[in-house]
Structures are given as structure tokens and as C-alpha cells.
């Protein structure tokens, strides 16, 4: 999970035989838009930012995981299907989904036959094991997810494939033969197939591994391989001659060539997308405000747009370590006084921003329940009477002063801060805006508890998206107090509820998914009771389908267009 752009999981194959969709708003939400099996052409992606890394061990953006499937195959993969089906896992390198032991602590995968890297060498289970072992080294690969580091039963003092070069890590991963790989977990986990669809299980041939420089040329195991890679500007992919469609039911591999341009001005990107010059805004977070104001009033343009809900919450941390917010009534006053419609507008309104959130978990996360402890009035603009009541109870009948931090480079967070400043002022809560550099936001400022106290950062604009569609994945980083570090760096800055920590641990031990789901909702409710998180919006994004792109759909697994299925006319 991440506070930034959230990673997700991946898709499966076949674009299905859905009926051709009309070009209309949300046409790609539940159906495949413009389905086709025609091969050829160049698919053009553009990124207004840049990858953290193209190395499977070192990337943590949702779009990156989505896109990586074009050049890398993990053990499992999200099905390439619109809607909810796209959030289910299918085998990829593996013949079948993982076979758990009875206690869900040992997971065994068997690889398909005939798998090859781009250079023609066969892919074996050792390559997968090596990939996971190298990804263990967070010093070399600081960005990637750490689930496997924490879940597997690594030998004590194990430091990853480079620093513990010849160490035996069979306590964590075993490869009895070239096609079998066995994972040993420290604790039972029934959703392990979600973990193996993440990029760290994409195989890496040890002979070609160049460590931190591997990102410059990742050895492809998927249908496309790198042709040219100019980090900072873009790269291009061409067909991988050693990829065999027969081994890969999930990828239609339609285009002949894929071009990606990075670091393009976001507004230019939107314009080019609308004009048909490019096909996909790869980040999948939606258009800029200027483009939005062009799209929404124009039916023709609006018909090209989709508006998916993301498993992401934009929220504001309310810090109980800062006076007078240590008093729960003061925190509740904030909850009531906040104008949620302003919050929504700050993120771009109902289309680009999202739905007004009343609790943590977005409705699309399994187990999400409707929780609305602090109703903000009929118009959503806050319940000032209640707010004043709580202010009185807190001993600050005339309001109080505190600060609100946000990431300076993010206009939406700035707008959020402005909106909260304006709406809380209605009950006398005076906020001072404190922008901090994004790069240091959590490590030095809002995520550093002593700093928060010293600088009276009562409120901190924040956000969180789930790595995979699962309550634990969504909640843990946001509410587990044990991730808070005095030295800074955690994105949970306000939730320190012992109950919640306990509930999280208990939920992990529950093997039955059906029984786990209500536990998430309970955690959600418990956090809301403490009023340490002011939920803002459950994010939505306004995406634009590129012109001439075929097989366009949004899956719940990616929460953006599925890049594996796409082709060009």
C-alpha cells in the first residue's frame, strides 16, 4: 500500500466475448469496450511522472504492476476481465493457483512447461526463487513491496541474494526441482495467491542480474521485451520472440510495439490524449482539472471517459498527540465541522475526486460496511451545531488554533487544506497551512511523531490506497500503531489504538475469508470512534479512453485500464 499512487494486482487473459460496447460514459467499467483480436500497431503510453523503477523487485506503483505484466510474468496474475472478475487471481507462470498446506503455512506452485526468457534460456523455479531472494535486499531495491520479506520464514540474519550470497534460504523458499517452488510462511495466510501476483515473483536470471542497474534492462519473461530504455525520457518494448502464447492464456499480446514517454507535462498529456495523439495516460489517476472542465460539459468527450472508484481513501490524520486534539471531543468537533463537499471539490469533484467518505474502507473493498459516525448534515457541509457542542465539551467553546500540513507539490492537498481551513473556521477552529516537501513529508515532517508534536501539526492531509483488494491490505499500513516510528517515515501518523493492533493480529489468524471480513469493518468502526482519521473522499478517477484503442476495460484488480489486454486498431 502506499500513500501515493497505489499498486494493485493484475489481470488475467482473455478479453472475453462481451458484446461491443457503445461509446458512452463508463462504457469500459463493466464491459470490454471496442473488443478486437487484431494484432499489430503501436500502443503509445505517456506518463506525466516517472517510474520508481522498472525492476520488478523495486517498483510499487499500481500502474507499474499493471504495465509490468507486458514484460514480466509472476507466478499468478489478476484476470484480464472487466469489473469484479478482474480482481480474481489466475495462474500465470504457475500451472495452477498455489496449493496451500492444511495450515496455510506452506504454498506450492508448479511452473508451466516451455517457459523462456527473452534470450531463450528456460525459466525455472530457481529463477523465481532468486528473484524473491534478491528482492529481499531493500537497500538495493528500496521501493518494492516487502510482503514476502515479512511473511516468509527467512533464516535469521538473511540479507538477500547479494549480501548473503550463498546462504541457504530453504527455510523460506524451496525449489525441489526446476518446475516446483515451495514457500514457507511464518504465519498462516490464506490469501497468498494475491501476494504471488506481485512483481517480486517475476523471475530474474541470476546470470543477467545487475542489481540496481537491472532496471535499465529487465530480462523479459512476457510477450514484450525492452528495445530501448532512456530513463527519465521513456522507453519502447517490442515483441519477445521467445515468448510462447501457448504457455500464456492470460495475454492476448495484440500490439507489435509499445512506446512509453515519461515526464510529460500533465496538461499536455491530457490534451494529447484527447486529441488522439497518444493512447493511454499510464498513471491511471485521471485527468487534470483543466481537461476535466473540457470533458464533462462536452457529451462527445464525456462518452470517451470512464469514472472508476478506487480502493483509495483521501483523508486527513487528526493527531491525538497535539493539544487540544488529545481530547476526543475536540477531534469530534473537527469531524463534524469539516465540509465534506469542499473536500470532494479539492480532489476534483464527484467525478475526478470521488465519493464523500464517511469511514475508512471504500465500498469496493470486500467487507466494507456503511459506517457514518459523524454525519455531516443533509448538504454534506458539516454539522456545525454538533461541532460546537463537542467544542464546548472539549473546553474550547470558541474554537482553537492548530496547523494543517500537506505536501507542497500536490495542488489537491493544498486545496484540501484550504477547504478545511475555511470550513473549520466556521466553528472557530483556526488552521494554519504548512506545506512540506513531498519527498520528506513522512520522513521528516508529518510522519515524524516528535515533529508533529513540536510543530503542532494537529491535522495532516494524507491518503492511502490498497495494494490488493483485501481489508488487511487496505487497513494495516493506515491503522497499525506499530508501524509508527519515532524517527519518522510511516504514513500512519495518528492511529494509536491498542485495540486495533490486537484486532489486526487476530484477523490474520483467521483463515476463513468470510469470517475475516466483518473483522475489517469492526476495525474501521473502532478507528472512527476515536476520530483520529477524518475521512475525505473515496477516490475516483476520470479516465479517458485513447482513440483507436481496442479491448479497453477497467478491472477491479487494477482500478484503471488493464494494459495487458489492450490493442490498437
Amino acid at each position: 500500500g502506499t500513500s501515493t499512487d497505489s499498486p494493485k494486482e493484475s489481470a488475467g487473459a482473455g478479453t472475453g466475448a462481451a458484446a461491443p460496447a457503445q461509446a458512452e460514459f463508463n462504457a469500459a467499467m463493466t464491459k470490454v469496450f471496442n473488443p478486437s483480436t487484431k494484432k499489430g500497431g503501436t500502443l503509445k503510453f505517456v506518463n506525466s511522472g516517472d517510474w520508481d523503477s522498472l525492476d520488478p523487485a523495486d517498483t510499487y506503483y499500481g500502474y507499474s504492476w499493471n504495465f509490468m505484466r507486458l514484460y514480466g510474468r509472476a507466478l499468478t496474475v489478476f484476470k484480464a476481465a472487466p469489473g469484479a472478475e478482474g480482481a480474481t487471481v489466475a495462474p500465470d507462470l504457475a500451472k495452477d493457483l498455489g496449493k496451500p498446506s492444511a495450515d496455510f503455512k506452506t504454498w506450492t506452485y508448479t511452473l508451466r512447461e516451455g517457459l523462456k526468457f527473452e534470450d531463450g534460456t528456460p525459466i525455472t523455479s530457481k529463477d523465481v526463487a532468486y528473484a524473491v531472494a534478491r528482492a529481499f535486499d531493500k537497500e538495493t531495491f528500496p521501493n518494492g513491496p516487502t510482503y514476502l520479506n515479512e511473511m516468509l520464514d527467512w533464516p535469521k540474519d538473511y540479507k538477500g541474494a547479494y549480501k548473503s550470497k550463498d546462504a541457504d534460504f530453504s527455510s523460506a523458499i524451496e525449489t525441489p526441482d526446476d518446475s516446483t517452488i515451495v514457500f514457507h510462511l511464518k504465519q498462516p495466510y490464506s490469501g497468498f495467491d494475491y501476494i504471488t501476483q506481485m512483481s517480486p515473483t517475476v523471475p530474474v536470471p541470476k546470470a543477467k542480474d545487475t542489481g540496481a542497474k537491472y532496471r535499465e534492462h529487465v530480462i523479459s519473461s512476457g510477450p514484450y521485451m525492452f528495445e530501448k530504455n532512456e530513463i527519465g525520457k521513456g522507453f519502447s518494448l517490442v515483441r519477445n520472440p521467445n515468448w510462447d502464447a501457448a504457455t500464456d492464456p492470460n495475454r492476448p499480446a495484440l500490439p507489435d510495439r509499445i512506446e512509453v514517454q515519461t515526464n510529460v507535462n500533465a496538461d499536455d498529456l491530457d490534451n494529447r490524449l484527447l486529441s488522439g495523439d497518444i493512447h493511454v495516460d499510464i498513471a491511471g489517476t485521471g485527468v487534470q482539472p483543466a481537461a476535466m472542465s473540457k470533458i464533462l460539459p462536452d457529451p462527445a468527450l464525456k462518452a470517451r471517459a470512464d469514472n472508476p472508484t478506487l480502493q483509495r481513501l483521501w483523508y486527513t490524520s487528526v493527531s491525538p498527540t497535539v493539544k487540544p486534539l488529545d481530547n476526543i471531543d475536540c477531534r469530534k468537533a473537527v469531524q463534524y465541522a469539516a465540509d465534506k463537499t469542499g473536500y470532494q471539490a479539492a480532489y476534483g469533484g464527484e467525478f475526478s475526486g470521488g465519493a464523500i467518505a464517511t469511514s475508512l474502507m471504500p465500498p469496493s473493498v470486500p467487507g466494507a460496511a456503511k459506517i457514518d459516525l459523524y454525519p455531516s448534515g443533509a448538504d454534506g457541509k458539516g454539522d456545525l451545531a454538533k461541532a460546537k457542542e463537542h467544542l464546548a465539551a472539549c473546553g474550547q467553546p470558541n474554537g482553537f488554533e492548530t496547523n494543517i500540513s500537506y505536501r507542497a507539490e500536490r495542488p489537491k492537498e493544498k486545496a484540501t487544506a484550504e477547504a478545511l481551513q475555511e470550513s473549520l473556521a466556521r466553528v472557530g477552529i483556526k488552521l494554519t497551512l504548512k506545506p512540506y516537501p513531498q519527498a520528506d513529508y513522512f520522513s521528516l515532517y508529518a510522519g515524524k511523531p516528535p515533529f508533529v508534536v513540536e510543530n503542532k501539526l494537529g491535522l495532516a492531509v494524507n491518503g492511502w490506497g490498497s495494494d490488493y483488494p483485501d481489508g488487511y491490505g487496505f487497513l494495516q499500513q493506515m491503522v497499525d500503531s506499530r508501524v509508527i516510528r519515532e524517527t519518522g517515515g510511516s504514513s500512519n501518523v495518528s492511529v494509536r489504538i491498542p485495540d486495533v493492533d490486537k484486532m489486526l493480529d487476530e484477523s490474520l489468524l483467521e483463515a476463513d475469508a468470510k469470517k475475516r471480513e466483518p473483522m475489517w469493518a469492526a476495525i474501521d468502526k473502532r478507528v472512527m470512534e476515536e476520530a483520529v482519521i477524518l475521512p475525505g473522499v473515496w477516490a475516483k478517477s476520470l479516465l479517458v479512453r485513447g482513440q483507436g484503442v481496442t479491448n479497453v476495460f477497467i478491472s477491479d484488480g487494477q482500478q484503471m485500464y488493464d494494459y495487458v489486454a489492450m490493442g490498437v486498431e
Binding site: S53, Y60, P437, F442, T487
Partner: protein, 339 residues
Amino acid sequence: MVTYIIRRLIGAVIMLLVVSMATFAIFFLVPQLAGATPEGMASRYVGRTATAETAKLAAERLGFNDPLVVQYGRFVKGIVAGAEYDYGPGVEACPAPCLGYSFITRQPVFPDLMNRLPVTLSLAIGAAVIWVVMGVGIGVLSALRRGSVFDRAAMTVALAGVSLPIFFTGLVSLLVFSYGNPFSFAAQGGHYTTFLDSPGQWAYNLLLPWITLAFLFAATYARLTRAGMLETMNEDYIRTARAKGLRESTVVTKHGLRAALTPILTVFGLDFGLLIGGAVLTESAYSLPGLGKYAIDAIVNQDLPKVMGVTLLAALFVVVASLIVDLLYAVVDPRVRLA
């Protein structure tokens, strides 16, 4: 002459050292004064799920625990003698001049810079050609027709030109001439094609940035040239040239212009040097992937080695440009002796 150049180069090196120290101080000293620990600073570069342990390791790897002097010394040593970086499976040599490698993208900075340089160079050279031709041309005409309608109009426009912020002109020109609207004749921002790939496309993409940038500078140069020309045409030697019976056109070009343009050479050298070092605002306004944009992006990400790299390169350009200007000056003006 040679000793002069050597002396100037030594001066340049000292200057670059000062520049790099200042940059270094900004990035290390200031956060430290603000209370950042080495781990805290390292945690910028360890991803979002890093543990305290990782941050500590990273701090060690990046050498944040060493005293600032040592860190700085390492940086300088890298430039002079190259450095080695731990890439995981092995160490990789980064040959001199090694400006370090990015904390974030793990790319050596130097190749990055070389990669971005052509963009900025294209921008600067194209704009420079336009602004020198326009600015000097208009300035000379204005001076020769002092007080005429042309002069007044030109100077009014020029004054307006120097008063317009480039990020505003950039925005407006994009709005008016690009973004797919009816008047558009130029490419949108963010496009760059190398000259070798397609000269036509290269020029087309850069047209708007060139014009915008050139407008600003042409205005300044027109004013400078006019003032210089007016002053020169009052010199005694111009009177002498006329007294010899020279044609007025010869007087203006051979005697007047040459002398009037020499001081402008200096200004041009500095402007051009500074511009190559990063046309920050222009590149931001048009999202051109040049050094200026690179610098801004690096600053946003607090990616110190990149910032150091650009700053040094930029300063180097200024120094080199001013050295070249001074050498040229000595060629143009025989009175100048390089000593």
C-alpha cells in the same frame, strides 16, 4: 595567453568549488539545522515501506553518517578520480567526472546531464540566434533613427518585453498558439525531437519556446544595442571616419557597430552561459526535458546528486562562456590584454 587561460581555469575551479559547497550546504546543512538525522534524511530514499533498519542501512550506504566535510570530500573526489557504487551484485565504477548517482533513480548523474544537455542547447541556441538577430537589428535601426516612429514603437515593445514574466508569456502563447485551438501553428509543450532524428520536427517543436525566450532577450538586447550604438556614434572616431569621407553605411557598420557590439558580447556570453545551465522557467512552462526541468524535478525529489550535477554544470557553462567571451574580446578589441 596560455598562462592566462590556465589562470582563469584555476579561478574557475575555485569558483565551482564554492558553488558546489554552497549547494551541498543547502541540502545537508539546512535540513540538519532543521533537525534531520542521517536516518531521517536517508529515509527519503528508501521507499515507502522501509523499516528503520533499512533507513539506517541506506544512511550508511549514502554515507550520511560521516561528517559533512568527509561527504563533501567524497563528492569532489568522485569528480576528480571517479568513484565506485554498490549496485548489489557488484560494484560499478563511475569514471571521472563522476557527479555521483541519483539517490532515487540510482542512475549516474553525468550521463543524465549529457542526455538533457542537447535539449537545453537546442533551446538556447535557437533562441539565441533569433534574439541576437532581432535584438541587435532592431537596436541598431532604432539608434540610427532615433526619435522616429519606428524607434519609439520598437522601444515600447522592448520595454514591454522585458516586463513580461516568461512563465506568463509561455502560458499565454501555449493558450493562444497551441493546445489544439484554431490559431495554433506550434507544437504543444513537452515535445522534443532530436535534431538528428528530424530537423523539421525539432524546429517545429521548439518554435514556441524559442520565440518566447527570444522575445524576452531580444527586448533586452534591442535596448542594450540601441544605447550602445547611440554612445558609439558619438565617439570621436566616428567623426574621424566621417571626416575621411567614408560612406555612412560603412561608418555605421565597420566603425560603429563593431565597437557597439563588443560590450554586448559580454552580456551575451553570460546570458548564454546561464541559459545553457538551465532555462528553468522556459523549460517548466513548456515542459521541455532539458537541464532546467531536470533541476526542478531533482529539487522536488530532494535528489541531491542531481541538483549538484546541474548546478555545477550550469556554473561551468557560465565560467566557460565568460572565458570564451574574454578571449574573444581580446581578439575583437586589441586594447584588451590578457594578463
